[in-house]
Amino acid sequence: MSAHLLEIDALSVSFDGFKAVDELSVNVDVGEIRAIIGPNGAGKTSLLDLISGRTTPTSGHVRFKDVELTELREYEIVRAGVGRKFQTPSVYESLTVFENLEMAYPDSRSWWSAWRFHRSPKVVALIDEIAEVVYLKDRLRDRAETLGHGEKQWLEIGALLIQRPELLLLDEPVAGMSVVDREKTAQLLVALSKGRAMVVVEHDMEFVKKIAHRVTVLHQGRVLVEGQMEDIQKDPRVVEVYLGH
């Protein structure tokens, strides 16, 4: 048994010779919210893509609870306990909020069992609970297309929660949100980090300061600095990459 929930070891990926992620090593523990920051093109989203199996690494390893994720298909990685939220809210517009959440429940995932699927009051109660957590309890019957931008982001987070992942990958969860919604999302993420790990890619430094236990700064596909937010903000190397010359 390894010491960390997620161990990324010398991970690299190159697209047509361009190294988006270059010999990157990061460890994440249970109960931790790890923020990944860095200028545009630093490889933040690429890193999430590599963990969740959307892209295959050129070399290196991703170990999650001692399972090598780089050899699994996307849906197998999800079933192993890794949830992924995309940058743009991705919900099923034609389905209701309830149906969106139900779709995420980790059961009856083959065509046959989905056909035979019956709603059990237990699952419905769970969905109701999660909807309350993500501020959508009153919207269960509404179609997802009627939700506001922030509500869609929450719906996607709620759908992830129903999967009960041990590792949550969040790509810019507050992009495009109002200040009030950002605050609510920060509270939400802090509450959710208990018993699981989170990796959050985010541009909003105020938000990062609020939620992150540790921060990893990426630059040109490599780890530039890693540590507490206060230290990082003072680090001359970080200031330089962000402000440039």
């Binding site: 969740s52 298909r73 996307e74 849906y75 999800v78 079933r79 949830g83 992924r84 995309f86 991705s90 919900v91 099923y92 517009e93 034609s94 389905l95 209701t96 309830f98 149906e99 139900e102 779709m103 995420a104 980790p106 009856s108 995932r109 083959s110 065509w111 989905a114 056909w115 035979r116 699927f117 019956h118 709603r119 059990s120 009051p121 237990k122 699952v123 419905v124 109660a125 769970l126 969905i127 109701d128 609970e129 957590v133 269960l140 019957r141 179609r143 996607e156 759908a159 999967q163």
Partner: protein, 420 residues
């Protein structure tokens, strides 16, 4: 998350009651009524109203309805557009035709051929023995199995190969179209084995039962109609289940489904295979009712006509698919008889109108809200004439009628909300 276990079930039940909206219950009821109406139209009205010739024509149109039904599930719900459904229709049609042709080619009735006992077109092409792949079709049982299995297996192989590699959208449509083109070229080219461009003709009996008599045509029509109703019932059960909502989810955001832990490729393959099997049933019934099979039902043009039929009826409406097939194919017969050169323009125009004005096809026509608007407008004019403020009560109130669903015929996932 601190609710004690015992209250969990009751809480769930309460939420479920809250979720089971009137609209959802209403959609379900309306689907049941639509099913009943369809059954009466197909099994009572048509057989009573039309003579055998017309009934047989309608039977032919209804074989295309199987294809359209498959397209509704595959394309309307799942978002997978196949432009090659003619392949599956044709393959099973040919399977059935091969059996019937062998029965029609007994040595006695083919005694004038240089090789008696083989189909006539083989003899014309200097083939002297029955090709090996024809031999199993002497067995009726084998034929019955081959009718759904051959197209089903092809769809499974195609679907698995493409969906595993993430080939989707337009690329998938183009490849299915290419397959349709390849198969029709193959059939036309291998005249000695397939009957070439003429197809397999002069089919006479099924197990000694003459399929050309009026009685046989009536019976075959009824068999066809019952099979179609069965397919509709099966599709309804899919659409109302979580599988139906899963298909809608795939159409909306495929990547989200994948990253929710579903094996997307296997689910897409399933619905593609199911659509192929529907098309296959249609193809076999076509051969039986029309009495021949030819490459003109296999290639690109018929495949696209089937897609248009589904689009006209409403690509996400199971019932729309059937009425759409009837309408489009009736139009085809009518125009081909009266103004043959106009048909292609008519079907093209039909498609444009549907795409621009009726994205949900005929099923999306909300006649009641249209009528309400008309009444409102008429009333508005009268009010102006009366030159005084008058309360518009009647029609306006009907807008809030709880029996009115918010939009069109229940074509989407909200039907599932009542599935408890």
């Amino acid at each position: 998350m601190h609710t004690p276990r015992s209250t969990y079930a009751s809480r769930g039940a309460a939420v479920l009651r809250h979720l089971t909206t009137r609209v959802a219950v209403d959609v379900r009821r309306r689907e049941n009524i639509a099913f009943g109406v369809l059954a009466i139209v197909l099994l009572v009205v048509f057989p009573l109203v039309f003579d055998v010739f017309r009934l047989n024509l309608i039977g032919k149109y209804l074989t295309y309805a199987f294809v359209a039904l498959g397209l509704v599930l595959c394309w309307g719900y799942g978002g997978i557009l196949s432009l090659g459904q003619g392949v599956f229709f044709g393959l099973s049609g040919y399977c059935m035709a091969m059996f019937l042709k062998l029965e029609a080619s007994d040595p006695a009735s083919t005694s004038i051929q240089s090789t008696p006992g083989i189909p006539d077109f083989m003899d014309w092409n200097q083939i002297t023995a029955l090709p090996a792949f024809w031999v199993p079709f002497k067995s009726f049982v084998f034929t019955l199995i081959a009718v759904p299995v051959v197209p089903g297996v092809l769809a499974f192989v195609l679907g698995t190969a493409m969906f595993r590699r993430r080939v989707g959208g337009v690329y998938f449509a183009i490849i299915t179209q290419a397959v349709a083109s390849i198969l029709s070229i193959l059939i036309i080219g291998q005249q000695g084995y397939t009957g070439g461009v003429n197809g397999i003709t002069d089919l006479k009996t099924l197990h000694g039962w003459d399929i050309r008599t009026d009685m046989a045509k009536r019976i075959l029509y009824c068999v066809n109609a019952v099979l179609l109703l069965g397919a509709v019932a099966l599709s309804l059960s899919i659409v109302r289940s979580k599988l139906g909502r899963l298909l809608v989810a795939l159409r909306d955001k495929e990547e989200r489904v994948l990253f929710t832990g579903y094996d997307v490729a296997s689910i897409k393959t399933f619905v593609f295979v199911l659509a192929a099997i529907y098309a296959a049933i249609g193809g076999a019934m076509f051969t039986l009712q029309v009495g021949f099979m030819s490459p003109s039902f296999v290639g690109i043009v018929p495949s696209i006509e089937m897609v248009i039929a589904a689009a006209v009826g409403g690509r996400a409406s199971l019932f729309g698919a059937i009425y759409g097939s009837l309408l489009v194919n009736f139009g085809k017969t009518y125009f081909s008889e009266s103004f043959p050169e106009l048909w292609l323009f008519v079907i093209g125009a039909m498609f444009i109108v549907v795409v621009i004005a009726l994205p949900n096809g005929l099923a999306g026509l909300d006649l009641r809200s249209f009528a309400t608007r008309l009444v409102l407008r008429a009333q508005g004019i009268r009010n102006r004439d009366a030159s005084g403020p008058k309360l518009v009560t009647g029609p306006a109130a009907s807008k809030d009628d709880p029996k009115l669903p918010p939009n069109g015929a229940g074509a989407s996932g909200d039907a599932g909300a009542s599935h408890a």
